[in-house]
């Protein structure tokens, strides 16, 4: 094989060949964790495609061989009328470019294969739902509006072309330009047997951190959706459950997930992130990467890992960049119990805002005369901007950190929480609803534009600068640097980094 590599523990090619995603899957397989079988088309094929405008000679043959092997492993046939094999086709270069490139799921579900899947499972609705997801992900990946071929190998070929082409989409090129990523790397394509989170009542998908990414606390954290595929969790369009709900609903999946988080964390010696799907009660891991915690959470994980003897104090110090510590003076909501948490969205503009909730821009303007207001909207349009100008902060049900609402809130310097799935703004009823709770207009709430929390009342607000873990990390820093004069946090840590690089030993 020249272009294609198996997703197996023996595969040793580096990330610049396999892409980060596939390399993570190979690592999971080495750890003996459950990963759907599949293969990777390396980045060289993408570079050849981008250079020549067509798939390289020989790739078709290798694809056919890899599919044949996958069919033998799964005892299924791609696009077959009985026991059809469906696959996921995902992009993934050596440098992560989240959301920039194409992904096609449920590939191989031709009309005939969909009928076969319905007959096999006795669940036509599930089969139709899966086919619908293929059509929508295929349409999103191929902007030309071309019809989807009804032969499975043809679908696969087109999907690979779509993923390779997406490397050169103007949006992806802009992303690389802004983040200093070379334009000539190309992406790999990971093809795996589909596992169906939408299969039945014991199926679902989710994401999990080995520790809480907001606080660094050593508690698994994440979210899960039942009877859904993974893209529903990541897209933020659906109301998710807290990860821990799995413990009661799917104890076997939960136990498997805890074990996976433990093994990956032990292997990486750092907090980790997993994407998973469970089908009919069986757990599958679809992605693994480092946790990439920031601010207080990064500090706490470094200190906890050093205390546990997993890493040394020098490494703990090096794991937190002085730049991270600039964030420690951003106010955060602290010590909020589940009872006061109304909802959680995505932090889009940092800071905490406390005020009475208003459901329209006009009311926000009127109410602001009597004190601070939080504007809650389904999404924002220019018609809401005078309300946002009058408000202390904004929360929207839809949208991501790159939405008009987020851009405007940051421009105005106001804390913002966006993409709060499950938040309903009922203008006629003058209330917002979330998590079974009705919050009438005028009720005091608070939002945290870093962690995305929306809470009742006026919670305690603090900066990480007072955090005991940070205090200890900085004490270690002063010991290493041999300097305990009063400087700001970033300077103290920076001096320690310089001392470690000069070879200073840790007391």
């Amino acid at each position: 094989m020249r272009w294609v590599y198996p997703l197996s523990p023996e595969t040793e090619e580096p990330a610049d060949v396999l892409g980060g995603k596939a390399q993570g899957l190979v690592m999971l397989r080495r750890l003996g964790l459950p990963v759907p079988p599949g293969f990777v088309i390396g980045t060289a094929a993408c570079r050849a495609f981008l250079r020549d405008g067509r798939l390289p000679a020989g790739l078709d043959g290798e694809l056919a061989a890899a599919i044949a092997e996958l069919e033998a492993t799964t005892h299924r046939k791609l696009g077959g009328p009985e026991r059809p094999l469906a696959v996921s086709v995902r992009s993934g270069g050596s440098v992560s470019m989240p959301g920039m490139m194409a992904t096609i799921l449920n590939l191989g579900l031709t009309a005939e294969a969909t009928a076969g899947l319905a007959a096999e499972t006795g669940d036509p609705r599930f089969a139709r739902d899966s086919r619908r997801r293929l059509l929508s992900s295929y349409a999103a990946a191929t902007t030309g509006g071309e019809p989807i071929p009804d032969d499975a190998i043809g679908q696969l070929r087109r999907a690979v072309v779509a993923v390779f082409s997406s490397w050169d989409s103007p949006r992806a090129a802009t992303y690389r330009e802004l983040h200093g990523i070379p334009h000539d790397l190309g992406t790999a394509v990971t093809v795996q047997a589909m596992v169906f989170g939408n299969r039945d009542d014991h199926s679902g998908a989710g994401v999990a951190f080995s520790r809480n990414p907001n606080t660094g606390e050593q508690v698994p954290f994440g979210e899960v959706l039942l009877r859904r595929q993974g893209d529903d969790v990541v897209s933020g369009g659906s109301l998710t459950w807290p990860l821990h709900d799995l413990a009661g609903r799917e104890p076997t999946v939960w136990a498997g997930l805890l074990e996976a988080l433990r093994r990956v964390e032990e292997h990486e010696r750092d907090a980790c992130y997993l994407e998973f799907t469970f089908q009919a009660g069986q757990l599958w891991l679809l992605q693994a990467r480092p946790g990439r915690f920031v601010g207080a959470a990064a500090v706490r994980v470094a200190v906890d890992l050093a205390d546990a003897g997993v890493i040394g104090r020098a490494e703990a110090l090096l794991r937190v960049s002085p730049r991270q510590l600039r964030l420690v003076r951003v106010p955060r909501i602290v010590g909020v119990g589940q009872a006061d948490l109304v909802a959680r969205g995505l932090g889009a503009a940092p800071g905490v805002a406390v005020g009475r909730v208003a459901t329209t821009a006009d009311r926000a303007v009127r109410m602001a005369a009597d004190g601070p207001v939080i504007l809650a909207r389904p999404a924002t349009s220019p018609l809401d901007l005078h309300g946002l100008a009058a408000a202390a902060g904004v929360v929207t049900a839809r949208g991501g950190p790159a939405s008009h609402a987020a851009v405007v809130a940051r421009a105005m310097g106001k804390p913002a929480v966006v993409g709060v799935a499950g938040l309903t703004v009922d203008v006629a009823d003058a209330s917002v609803r979330a998590g079974g709770r009705r919050v009438p207009e005028g009720t005091g709430i608070a939002i945290d534009g870093t962690g995305g929390e929306v809470v009742m009342g006026a919670p305690r607000v603090a900066t990480t600068a007072a955090d005991p873990h940070l205090r200890r990390l900085l004490e270690w820093a002063d010991e290493v640097a041999g300097d305990s004069t009063g400087r700001d946090e970033a300077a103290r840590l920076g001096a320690a980094h310089a001392a470690i690089r000069r070879g200073a030993s840790i007391p």
Partner: protein, 209 residues
């Protein structure tokens, strides 16, 4: 770029009404700038619209001219009517589709302008690195060129949309000449005008946000 003279022209009263529909509450000078009409003319139209109960003027810090509920309904009806009479629905719909391809990239650029990610840590762009800012502005300039192409037929067909071309070009030129607030921060910033164009396309086609 030159456009044919066969473009549909919107009357000043509907233009004033619809401008408020797309920009929200605004002072007279902002309405005039967005509509591309002299202030006295816009003011006269707004007063007539206020008498008809379609717009209102709020006092106070966050006030200005804005639509009433009746004004919003009237605008929806009249702008849909204009689209049918001008026969430009297909042109606007096609422009909207192309706009949606560019919109995520514009939002990425605005995000990158405001927040810079270094060593995996995102923090506010303090604009202390001119090379980084220049990179963002280069990409914005490139996107602006593609947006002009994407909307060329729209500008050719409907006069009122050409105003966006002028305003986007102004914002970009000012940002490139060092007025950094014209990327995302000012009420006449590139993002502000783009956001209004997005709203206008939705409102014109009768698509809820």
């Amino acid at each position: 770029m030159t456009w044919p003279d066969s473009a549909h022209a919107t009357g000043a009263d509907l233009l004033a009404l619809h401008t408020l529909r797309c920009i929200g509450f605004a002072s007279l000078d902002r309405v005039a700038a967005a509509a591309g009409l002299p202030e006295p003319e816009v003011e006269s139209e707004l007063i007539d619209l206020a008498v008809a109960g379609l717009v209102t003027r709020l006092a106070g810090e966050f006030g200005g001219w804005g639509l009433t509920e009746a004004g919003r309904a009237a605008d929806a009806e009249r702008i849909a009517d204009e689209l049918e009479r001008a026969g430009t629905r297909a042109v606007v719909a096609a422009a909207y589709e192309r706009f949606l391809v560019l919109n995520p990239e514009l939002l990425d650029l605005c995000g990158a302008w405001q927040i810079r990610s270094v060593d995996g840590v995102a923090s506010a762009n303090d604009h202390a690195d001119p090379a980084y800012d220049a990179r963002v502005l280069e990409r914005l300039t490139d996107l602006d060129r593609r947006a002009e192409v994407a909307c060329a037929e729209l500008f050719a067909a409907m006069l009122r949309f050409r105003r966006y071309r002028v305003r986007l070009g102004d914002a970009l030129a000012r940002a490139r000449s060092g007025a950094l607030e014209f990327v995302t921060d000012s009420t006449a910033s590139y993002h502000a005008v783009w956001f209004q164009l997005h709203e206008d396309l939705l409102a014109t086609l009768g698509i809820p946000r």
